[in-house]
Symmetry: C2
Subunit: 352 residues, 2 copies
């Protein structure tokens, strides 16, 4: 009786190995290993026999052992600025979807927009012997020496959204320029005369793209570029409020704010309302990223769907297809502009 219980507990606790299966089937562990891995040199009969017994015992390969032996762990590291922004968590969802199908696990790190934390995360991931790294740069990351070092060591890397522009690395981005261009053009067509631009740091590629999309739209519609209508800010609500106050000093005053981020756009919006401007009648506001809150504020905020899920999937595919070298291929995804009430000039007049 006691013995029985003891055996049962062992059943529960002890993991079954290929040797257990081999012994039971009176074949070698090598054969079991091959059968389990669908090695073509194994007869169909033994393969099926092995796989059946393995399934019956609920055999699970010890990933540490196989990783150690194979020299790679089937894990990929992911670094995002922040996990709780819907854009990035969607990307992670897309990556996970593709990669877990291919048998990879994810190790997720946050840089919190800090270069030091980014380096730290890289450190951790290399330490964990990941098979590759998928990441988006932190805002602070201007210099790519730490990334080059890894690339030179032959580490597989794929970047998404925020890509080191001077490095020939694989990456997937959205067409930021097109999104900003489309918004700006649309607002001009709706009758807004002087769209302003609240951008992010010019050191960051995506923000440069958004700004140049805005500028090109002004030019191609024959509008004047007014220097005092263009500013840079950190992408916070506070930054947006400040940007609004500053830009509204200028003459002529703008009647639209194309913002490179949703938080800044929301700041602009709140400050505009606070100063008794009507949105969208007097002033239009648009953001970027389609954060969860954007459709639910008053008025709902025009923004850009950056296709995070899609981006994650594509980045993962790129990673899977990637050969030993990064050859600098770029996938560009079309963003979708979501026009909402905050840019809908004179809607009441429409019904006439």
């Amino acid at each position: 009786m006691y013995f029985h219980i003891f055996v049962e507990m062992n059943w529960e606790k002890k993991h079954i190995t290929i040797h257990d299966i081999a012994r039971e089937l009176k074949i070698s562990a090598s054969t079991v290993s091959r059968a389990l891995n669908n090695n073509p040199r194994i007869s169909a009969a033994t393969r099926d026999m092995v796989q059946k017994l393995a399934a019956a015992h609920g055999y699970q390969p010890n990933v540490m052992a196989s990783s150690l032996r194979k020299g790679r762990g089937n894990t990929v590291g992911v670094i995002v600025p922040n996990i709780n922004r819907s854009f990035f968590s969607n990307i992670i969802g897309g990556i996970e979807e593709k990669l877990s199908g291919a048998g990879f696990n994810l190790m997720i790190c946050q840089s919190n927009e800090s270069l030091d934390k980014e380096k730290e995360a890289l450190q951790t991931l290399m330490h964990a012997r990941v098979d590759g790294i998928m990441m988006s740069l932190s805002m602070e990351t201007q210099d790519y020496a730490h990334l080059e070092k890894l690339l030179n060591r032959g580490i597989r890397m794929v970047f998404f959204d925020r890509v080191p522009d001077t490095l020939a690395v694989d990456g997937v981005v959205i067409d930021d320029h097109a999104a900003a261009f489309r918004i700006t053009t649309a607002l001009i067509e709706k009758g807004y005369r002087h769209p302003a631009h609240v951008g992010g740091s010019g050191k960051i590629n995506v923000y440069r793209q958004r700004k140049s999309g805005y500028l090109d739209a002004l030019k191609s519609s024959g509008s004047q570029v007014i220097a005092s209508h263009i500013t840079e800010t950190d992408m916070t609500r506070q930054g947006g409020r400040k940007a609004f106050r500053e830009i509204m000093q200028s003459d002529p005053r703008p009647d639209a704010f194309i913002c490179a981020g949703d938080l800044a756009a929301h700041g602009v919006l709140l400050e505009a309302l606070k100063n008794h401007f009507r949105v969208p009648e007097d002033i239009a506001v648009s953001g970027f990223a389609n954060e969860e809150f954007t459709p639910h504020i008053t008025p709902p905020l025009t923004s850009v769907d950056q296709k995070g899920l899609e981006m994650g999937r594509q980045a993962a595919s790129l990673f899977l297809e990637q050969e030993a070298t990064n050859d600098g291929s770029r996938i560009v995804i079309e963003p979708e502009v979501l026009f909402r009430l905050s840019t809908q000039k004179e809607i009441t007049l429409r019904t006439e």
Copy 2:
């Protein structure tokens, strides 16, 4: 020359092992291993010598090898309903902070509030041979058989926020009852006569607690409990809108809505405004979870800070202290109610 280059490349590519260090120092690999792990039986002199050389070479232990040998991987699995809710991402932040200090890595999975995905995640984590699991139940999880199985196998588990109430497991929760009690009491004191309650599924512990906090507050303030003022909904904006319409049918009408979630509260708020009620003058609305958007909508929404970071830290500490068995200890954290404009009755009268 060529040879030199070859050597250099090897330097970059090949990971250095304890044997390399042993050879260079003319000692055994055992000693190197012990020195690196600060084994007290090693002389200070050799320890320092080894550690110095290891540092100089940038030695990094192969975690797969040590995991395989030790039979555990220094990884803990984390399952949350959803990674992009600020509450849960804060919890993850707290867990990471404590656990990475103790040398653990995190494997993060999302259940998406689905029991099936929760089981799948558990499967994945066991497969990866994690040393333990920290999790919050999915909304769908009513039956705990899958968890009991793991517990019986001796898997270390710590739960946070949504804890299986019939199992004697370690967990950390907030005092949901107290938060709901405090809000309800405060609203009654502010002059709201008939607070209604928009709750979540009664099958879930946290929602039961919030409801009973509401009920107890009514009782202790001598208010009447009106059955038609109490409803259950999924915690979406749509659910909140529907709940508002339903409850407003009843007689007497409520003049306040204590909601068990922020999205539902926002739905209530939007529907109230749409129907030309003034918030907070005619109707007060409060939420739960202090989601990012709550301070920024109009009017700002009273909500409850669930102390995610703190909860994550405490859960991680519990995990680290935990002996082989789950003994069912519960840590209860005090939430903080953040009163905002949405529950601020007759603020204009205040100034008289």
